[in-house]
């Protein structure tokens, strides 16, 4: 089943967007790409803010944009969370929420104003004016306000881009459970891989106005053929695992990846919790045999699945199998040569525990709103 079906073209003087994609009706889909690749323009076309687009946008069996049809933005069952929140400055937080609640479309019964206030912890903010809110609070209110219009599809345009790292990790859990808690699919525009791996189920990667990859987050991120899409510095994979032990003295947690065990800085979650970890390719080193006397805590038995030397550069990308899940390593071509790396070869992958960005680790989810 398809929720949103899009086939659009936008031409401006020095910019072109040409995108066709069917979005699934559940979960969070990342629309990922560098600045200026057309992500935001895409969202604006879907919302109806961009009149200069040609093509087709349909939601379910409702045509939002077609050869002759154009449904104005206020008639589309779409919610939009802007990067700059755009709360109404002349209204309090409560006034902003009421504004959306009063104009809510059909589906008002799906959840109440109290559910939204409770689910996003907005109660202490209700009587404040937007000017007196922090950036993170503003975004939480903006998300709540959008939800109260009872959209059937939620578009989020880099909602965390203007926030510092600490506030980002404060809001991410709220966003992560929007699809389940409020029953609507989310299209999430971002250029931050950390947000993709922590929040999203699927990824649509955009480059220069075109889709270059689409699929599940894990399998898309481990593709070596996508070149610069992730950016050399940030490129890496997403691993999913379960916390099996925590050592509060050393502030370390152990994560079972389904065979291989990773040791990472302590994750404040209960034993058994499912977590996602992002491992950058440049943080993974390779050895032929298990070395001794190293400070590196994680040594995983791995097998080389693919080797991808980059012509004209010093580097090579290596895709590894670590008992089901995959890892990427970025090493020099010279090292690959000297180690005699080849497909199918057994190696040891080394990852420093500190390579796991403390701030990128998942935080506990707040309790869900009462059903």
């Amino acid at each position: 089943m398809t929720a949103l079906s899009v086939d659009i073209r936008v031409r401006y003087r020095d910019f072109a967007l040409d995108v066709a994609h069917d979005f699934k009706p559940d979960g969070i889909t990342a629309l990922f790409g560098p600045s200026g690749c057309g992500k935001s323009t895409f969202l604006r076309v879907v919302a109806g803010f961009e009149r200069g687009a040609a093509g087709h946008v349909a939601f379910g069996d409702e045509v939002w944009m077609g050869a002759r049809a154009f449904l104005p933005p206020h008639r589309r069952a779409v919610g939009y969370v802007f990067q700059d929140a755009r709360l109404f400055p002349h209204l309090t937080v409560r006034g902003n929420l009421d504004y959306a609640d009063r104009r809510a479309g059909p589906g008002r019964a799906r959840y109440s104003l109290d559910d939204v206030v409770g689910g996003l912890d907005l109660a202490p903010l209700l009587d404040r004016r937007p000017v007196h809110l922090s950036g993170g609070e503003r975004q939480r209110v903006a998300i709540g306000r959008t939800l109260l219009a009872r959209p059937r599809l939620l578009l989020m345009d880099e909602p965390l881009a203007a926030l510092d790292t600490r506030r980002k990790s404060g809001i991410m859990p709220y966003i992560a459970r929007l699809p389940q808690a409020f029953g609507l699919p989310v299209i999430y525009v971002t250029h931050a891989l950390e947000e993709v791996t922590q929040l999203c189920d699927r990824i649509v990667a955009l480059s220069a106005g075109r889709i270059v990859a689409a699929g599940g987050v894990a399998e898309t991120l481990e593709r070596l053929d996508l070149g610069d899409i992730q950016g050399r510095f940030e490129a890496g994979v997403m691993l999913e695992g379960r916390i099996i032990a925590t050592d509060p003295d050393w502030h370390l947690s152990q994560v079972d990846l389904g065979g291989a065990i990773l040791e990472v800085p302590q994750i404040l979650r209960e034993i058994g919790a499912q977590v996602r970890l992002r491992v950058r390719a440049r943080d993974v080193s390779l050895a032929r045999t298990r070395p001794e006397g190293l400070s590196i805590r994680n040594m995983l038995d791995a097998r080389v699945l693919a080797l991808h030397p980059e012509a004209g550069s010093a580097f090579a990308e290596v895709l590894l199998d670590i008992g089901g899940q995959h890892l990427r390593a970025r090493i020099t071509r010279a090292a690959a040569q000297q180690l005699g790396l080849a497909q199918g070869q057994a190696v040891v992958a080394l990852i420093k525990s500190v390579a796991f960005d403390r701030q990128a680790l998942p935080r506990p989810l707040p309790p869900k709103p009462a059903p």
Binding site: P72, H74, R75, F88, Y99, R103, V131, T146
Partner: protein, 225 residues
């Protein structure tokens, strides 16, 4: 000392009030269009709107006199419809004042709408507010300061007009004799006491109005954007 005749003062206030009301209704859509359009015609319309700022009131008054006279199309239609002339009438004065004070309404409103920008309107649309709904519930409240400035400036400017009124309306007591003309008349007849009294009333009135506006603006700052 005799008190001066206060009739012209009330007439002036009535004229200013009606003109301001008419301009609020005409000026809002015009300012909105100017703030949001990308039409090539925009600079032309902007220039026409600003013309009363730079034209001598006699020029505007002269054209209005020609336009409103019973010999013209508009004046003739009015005469056959109502049996009265537009020139030398209160209605004629309202038309004249509306044109004369147009920039004082449109320019502050246009600036206010421009500073509100499109972003809050998109936010309102995403919350299912239609364009009119968004205008009244988001754009207008956010442009409140602009409205206040525009209203006060229009009112005060209409009270102070002289040349256009004299050209179009003349000096008919109870119909077109406004206070600025009355003051001129008192000075001409060397009746300085009355001129002093009326001038002082206008001065104190204008000063009080402006002070209250600036105070209000300071106390209730609106933060657009």
């Amino acid at each position: 000392m005799d008190l001066p005749d206060l009739g012209p003062l009330w007439l002036t206030i009535r004229l200013a009030a009606v003109t301001t009301l008419v301009l609020l209704i005409i000026g809002t859509p015009l300012a909105w269009w100017l703030a949001h359009t990308r039409a090539r015609l925009r600079p032309v319309v902007e220039a026409v709107t600003a013309l009363p700022l730079v034209l001598p009131p006699t020029v505007l008054g002269f054209y209005l006199l020609v336009l409103l006279s019973p010999d013209s199309l508009l004046g003739g239609l009015w005469l056959s419809a109502t049996g009265t002339t537009l020139t030398f009438s209160f209605t004629g004065l309202i038309i004249a004042s509306t044109l004369y004070s147009l920039p004082f309404m449109v320019q502050p409103l246009q600036a206010a709408f421009e500073s509100v920008g499109r972003a809050p309107l998109e936010a309102a649309a995403s919350l299912r507010a239609g364009p009119l709904d968004a205008f009244f519930t988001v754009a207008s409240p956010m442009a409140l300061r602009g409205y206040l400035t525009a209203t006060v400036l229009t009112f005060a400017h209409t009270i102070g007009e002289f040349g256009v009124v004299l050209m179009v309306g003349g000096n008919i007591p109870g119909r077109t004799k406004v206070v600025s003309i009355q003051i001129y008349e008192q000075v001409e007849t060397i009746n300085y006491d009355n001129a002093h009294a009326l001038a002082a009333i206008l001065l104190v009135f204008s000063f009080t109005v402006l002070v209250s506006v600036y105070t209000f603006n300071r106390r209730f700052p609106v933060h657009p954007g």
